[in-house]
């Protein structure tokens, strides 16, 4: 049963992967500098790493907004956000998972009579506004620097493009890591208060309850990236603005830096140590940041290049997603509580009693869930290794075949 309740979170993770991976590799894939297959593999791996290693920071911020204190509530909140994202992705509109989940949490607060912490909400909304603005500033500055650098060094175009291609992969990996660390809270954050899994020993490392949830979320995100992110990558990379290869690198780099700023506790501590105000650890809307970055390049190049129709559609989606998600959560919670008679959470005053009830009833199934996760991971590892080996062999065979056919052609010509 406990794993069933997680399915909505996994579905949300899948939706996030399908939608948000495009913000990291969309420019690169859209400009055809990196193949979708390569982008999907790198994004998947680094998303998972970021989520498991550094995912807990931003979860606390969402917890402050509304601590969903029943597993039925977590299930419903995640489901409502996931359905909203799925619908928007279906229409190839890049939307923000952060907005969908924030809308859903506020919907839960309304339903259960909990107060929405206005300070946390304003911090999150401020980050939503600051993200694209900082992204635009970064992308313009980086683009100017890049152009000057390119002009000053007489490097062969092909070599230059190969450096950019490598740069896109490296920066994309960094961006995927930061996005995983930043956005995993959107996927699994609502489950944290209601779940307490046993520690999982994976021979090399031991994962605590939160990390296990993040790992499962990360795997769901990877599935989303591999199975469905192509369509949105195409929208981001090609439709808003025709991106050159260096512009694609600048966009990814600027976006990765913004995500890093809002995810890194180390950087935040350093900022405080030099006497500046602390950077809030907020799940940033990567949709807004990427559009800000692309818009920055567009403004620098001249606004004639920008497809305002697509930008308008994206802006509309930003407004619709939190509202739709909030309303959907409210109605779904109503049905879950009154028709299926499932505990979807309670007012903060009743929280302690509800948490105790959850702990008593779920202990056995949570221990069972941990061992299922262990074997599931082992299976993924084995099949993943076989898959990669098969892919490498296939690529090698294809290359050799092409080389042989070319040699044969020229032999015949002689």
């Amino acid at each position: 049963m406990i794993l069933f309740f997680l399915t909505s979170g996994l579905f949300l993770g899948w939706s996030l992967g399908a939608n948000d991976a495009s913000h990291i590799f969309g420019s690169a894939v859209g400009s055809k500098m990196v193949t979708f297959r390569k982008a999907a593999i790198i994004a998947s791996v680094f998303f998972i790493l970021g989520a498991v290693i550094q995912g807990s920071g931003t979860s606390q911020t969402l917890g402050k907004l509304g601590a969903v204190n029943a597993i039925g509530g977590s299930f419903t909140v995640a489901l409502a956000a996931a359905i909203t994202i799925y619908m928007m992705t279906k229409f190839a509109l890049p939307i923000s998972t952060t907005q969908a989940i924030v809308g859903a949490i506020i919907g839960w607060n309304f339903f259960t009579g909990n107060r929405t912490d206005s300070k946390t909400l304003s911090t999150i909304v401020a980050a939503w506004i600051a993200g694209p603005v900082i992204g635009a500033v970064f992308s313009i500055a980086l683009y100017i620097l890049f152009k000057k650098f390119k002009r000053s060094v007489r490097i062969h175009l092909i070599r230059f493009e190969s450096y950019i291609k490598t740069g896109l992969v490296v920066v994309g990996a960094f961006g995927a890591y930061s996005l995983g660390a930043n956005n995993i809270a959107n996927v699994m954050g609502v489950f944290i208060p209601a779940f307490n899994l046993q520690d999982l020993n994976l021979w090399i490392i031991t994962l605590n309850s939160n990390q296990q949830l993040f790992l499962l979320g990360g795997l769901a995100i990877s599935t989303g990236i591999i199975t469905y992110s192509w369509k949105v990558m195409d929208t981001i990379g090609s439709n808003i603005l025709e991106l050159s290869s260096e512009a694609a690198l600048v966009v990814v780099l600027a976006q990765s830096l913004v995500l890093f700023i809002f995810s890194s506790t180390g950087l935040s501590d350093f900022i405080v140590s030099i006497g500046l105000p602390r950077i809030p650890m907020v799940p940033v809307s990567s949709s807004q940041v990427i559009v800000g970055c692309i818009l920055g390049i567009g403004l620098y190049k001249g606004v004639r290049n920008i497809n305002f129709k697509v930008l308008g559609e994206i802006g509309l989606a930003w407004l619709i997603s939190p509202v739709a998600s909030g309303l959907l959560t409210f109605f779904l919670l109503f049905f879950m509580k009154n028709i299926f008679n499932i505990n979807v959470g309670s007012n903060t005053g009743e929280q302690i009693a509800a948490a105790e009830q959850i702990t008593n009833t779920m202990n056995y199934s949570q221990a069972y869930a941990s061992s299922i996760i262990k074997y599931f991971l082992l299976g993924i590892f084995i099949f993943g290794t076989i898959g990669i080996a098969y892919y490498l062999l296939l690529t090698r065979k294809k290359k050799m075949g092409l080389q042989k056919s070319e040699e044969k052609f020229w032999m015949n010509m002689k």
């Binding site: 400009s31 055809k32 062969h156």
Partner: protein, 216 residues
Amino acid sequence: MPVFTRTTKNLILKIDEFFDNIDLGLLVFKEAIKAFLDKDMEAFNRHLQKVDSLENNADRLQRSIENEMITHSILPQHRAEVSTLIDELDEIIDALKSSLNEICIEMPDIPSSLNKNFISLSETSVSAAEELIPAARAYFKAPYTVREKLLKVYYFESETDKISFNMKRIIFQEMKELDLAHKAHLRYIIHHVENISDLAQKAADLLSGMAIKIVM
């Protein structure tokens, strides 16, 4: 990743070798025309064979460059244009080979009074193509300098037109002793040599657009 393989280096070398082939072909073509006018058929045939082998090599390199760019996903945004440029340059060396082949087969009887004009025509026409090569090389290393290099191509092309016009006027208006078939044949040969600079101009137009796009 391409930066960690030899693919990039190999491709750069192949493109350079392709340009070298065209450059060398143009030099040999000039020598072949001189040898023909000097009635030195042995040297002419040697030069013809050289152009033939350079053209074959250029074809092989062209195919290889295009294959590598596609299979390794190199220059995805400029690939089509680079392929077209290489194709246009290949047409120049094709034109050199076909011109020499036709001269070899048809053995045009060029009046000695036109020798100087003919050498001038071939040198100017070839110069237009020769000036194109550094511009094409510059596209890959310093695209900001492409347009200034192309000015010479346009200059030599227009000079070629003037020389060709002048030669045709001499042949058809001043050389009354030649019959019409002979005149038409000479015009045909002049047109072939003139065609080299026209092809260079066509490639220059393409290159100019490519340079603007990459600099922006």
